[in-house]
Amino acid sequence: MNILDWATSLQAYLVVGTCLFLLGVFAVLSRRNTIGILLGIELILNAAGINFVAFSKFRAAAIDGQVFTLFVILIAAAEAAVALAVILRFYRLKETINADEANILRN
């Protein structure tokens, strides 16, 4: 199959979504910086959105998947705002945003 034709197929959308998800999981697991972890979560949410939109077109030909993607985008925005506020707060407390330093409950 021609790669240009493949790019428009459902499979291409799903593969891109899966790869984005894997990269996001890798970022969440490997980053020590809390903002780096947040970036990984954004990638994961985008991967979910791609899958919703792809199935909305290729399977259902209906709007429902796009509505859910809209919800995902909104939740991602709210999550980013709260997460960054928490990070700012944490930075004032510890002078670092390294996730390893968030161990007050452990003592």
């Binding site: 034709d5 990269l23 999981v25 697991l29 780096g36 959105g49 985008i73 930075y91």
Partner: protein, 190 residues
């Protein structure tokens, strides 16, 4: 629903069978850009550059949305992510660690276990299942997909939000309000 889109737009965002090669190339490039930028986001040692490449990844996803017939979502993606979330993250970086600690602490050893988890276990399973799934899904007829892609999505989404999805819509407005007020309260000066 009758929408008088020009035939060319219908063809451009419709089914792959009648899409021009140039348009397909744009889609392919967008997909490649999304993944390459995401790779930089994951691996770049400087968080500032990682965030800026996240912006390109989001833009690639927006282009993919356009080609899947989700024009309204592509706009929302650009406005919310590119104009909102990325800028917010850049502000947070500059407020916390801009001058002296911009390097991320991701040494090779710390990345090794996540790499094994992702590439050794999660990745192969997910990719295999994805390929199996996309083969087994019975595709909608191309004409129906083209018809759907050419519909005016803003109208449909508006109707869905105030119809079937009214409760989630109201819930999410309250969530957004609570999250934003909470964020302002958390980040308030001492």
């Amino acid at each position: 629903m009758d929408v008088d889109f020009p035939r060319e737009i219908h063809d451009a965002i419709g089914d792959g069978a009648i899409m021009e090669n140039g348009m397909k190339l744009v889609l392919l490039l967008a997909q490649v850009m999304t993944l390459v930028s995401a790779l930089v986001v994951v691996l770049h040692p400087n968080i500032l550059y990682a965030t800026i490449f996240l912006l390109f990844s989001f833009l690639g996803v927006a282009v993919m949305f356009v080609f899947a017939g989700a024009d309204f979502l592509a706009g929302a993606q650009v406005i919310v992510y590119v104009g909102g979330v990325t800028i917010l993250v850049l502000f947070a970086i500059m407020l916390t660690q801009w001058l002296y600690e911009a390097k991320l602490k991701t040494t090779l050893m710390k990345g090794l276990i996540p790499f094994i988890v992702v590439m050794g276990a999660l990745g192969p399973i997910l990719i295999k299942e994805t390929l199996k799934l996309s083969d087994s899904v019975s595709a909608t007829p191309p004409e129906k997909m083209g018809e759907f892609a050419a519909l005016a999505k803003t109208q449909l989404i508006g109707q869905a939000l105030l119809g079937n999805y009214l409760l989630p819509f109201e819930a999410i407005t309250i969530l957004l309000l609570g999250a934003l007020v909470g964020a302002v309260w958390l980040a308030r000066p001492e």
